[in-house]
């Protein structure tokens, strides 16, 4: 009987030892989280391309080398009279490539949109910035010029209320100017309606110039 008691006690002491070991060994399980290839940027001015349909349909952004034209023909009787002339575009992009929503009204509006994908740790930039590199002038075949500063735009979008990510403005001739920003992990889009101020008499001719838009996230 005594021998039996001693055996039970040893078992119990063993149990106590296990309990103490558990108390000291219980810890949190840790998994490391890391983002993988998360940084993406996309810009579309005028016509853009998503292969396989819009994004909601499973499409993916792709490169489109097309450069769209925004133009106006000023009637001879109105040249330089100070009445602004609404410009039109040859862009066929009226729908957002996110979901095919009819966002812009052709031919008066040029679609400007894109998105910015980034984690907080990628580069620290909370926004991507859209800038326009603007020549000093539009130039005719005969070398005549019209300052780019005579072209302005308003900004809107069907169904939008409030501010636009790419608000209205006027080109800064011969400079690089900020057009707007895209917040991290957002799709942003606006429709720009351009107008020529028609404030100065210019000799007859076709005046052209190219503005280059660049979206960047440092």
């Amino acid at each position: 009987m005594k021998a039996s008691s001693q055996t039970d006690s040893r078992i119990l002491l063993g149990t106590i030892a296990v309990l103490l070991a558990c108390a000291s060994g219980a810890g949190a399980y840790t998994v490391n989280l890391t983002p993988k290839n998360p940084r993406t940027i996309y810009l579309q001015v005028g016509v853009g391309t998503f292969t396989g349909g819009n994004y909601q349909q499973g499409g993916s952004p792709a490169t489109n080398p097309l450069v769209n034209l925004v133009s106006v023909t000023v009637p001879a009787a109105q040249v330089g009279n100070g009445t602004a002339q609404t410009m039109t575009t040859n862009s066929t992009a009226s729908q957002s490539l996110y979901d095919s929503f009819a966002f812009c009204n052709l031919p008066n509006q040029l679609y400007v949109g894109g998105f910015y994908r980034s984690t907080n740790g990628s580069a620290g930039s909370a926004t991507a910035t859209l800038v326009a590199n603007v020549p000093a002038s539009l130039v005719s075949a005969g070398g005549r010029t019209i300052p780019f500063s005579q072209i302005s735009w308003t900004s809107s979008g069907n169904g939008d209320a409030g501010g636009q990510p790419f608000p209205g403005g006027t080109f800064v001739a011969g400079g690089t100017q900020t057009i707007g920003t895209i917040n991290r992990n957002e799709w942003a889009e606006s429709c720009h309606t351009f107008s020529y101020s028609n404030a100065a008499v210019a000799p007859a001719g076709t005046y052209t110039g190219r503005v280059t838009y660049t979206l960047s996230a440092p």
Partner: protein, 155 residues
């Protein structure tokens, strides 16, 4: 006399031990024997393209072979919980699927979710958990840890 004294001490230990085991309470479970299938969970955008109103969800999966030491509560009835404390990492949601003994479930930081209820019939519970992890990409600062642990309530 010496022999009697030793017996009394052992008997005393027996009483203390029984009291500790018998109390209905919550205990943290030793999970130090668990192993991840990989060192990190690589998270990717749930949607490669964000929406207009913003969408920054990153997601990923990781398989973990959990090995929980429930020996201290052997032959008792208990409820085992996965505890997801508040995290330094911008975790949005943790979900899991199991292969049998554990209940599937999900938790947000600060929650405690039941994964098993019943008798503790073996000293170890082993379970393969497939973790689904959702985090806020806008707030994820490179590599960050996600921690969780298990607790048991015993009757």
């Amino acid at each position: 006399m010496a022999s009697v004294h030793a017996t009394l001490v052992l008997a005393s230990s027996l009483t203390v031990g029984l009291a500790a085991v018998a109390d209905a309470a919550t205990y943290r479970v030793d999970d130090s024997g668990s192993l991840p299938q990989g060192p990190t969970a690589e998270l990717q955008w749930r949607e490669p393209v964000p929406s207009r109103r913003g969408d920054d969800t990153l997601e990923g999966t990781l398989v973990v072979l959990m090995r929980l030491n429930v020996g201290p509560w052997l032959n008792r009835v208990g409820r085992l919980y996965l505890v997801l404390p508040e995290q330094a990492a911008p975790l949005v949601r943790l979900s899991w699927r199991a292969q049998g003994r554990f209940l599937p479930g999900q938790a947000v930081p600060g929650q405690r979710v039941l994964v098993y209820e019943g008798p503790v019939s073996t000293p170890w519970i082993e379970e393969r958990l497939e973790l689904g992890i959702e985090a806020s990409g806008s707030r994820l600062e490179g590599m960050q840890p996600l921690t969780f642990h298990f607790e048991i309530d015993v009757d």
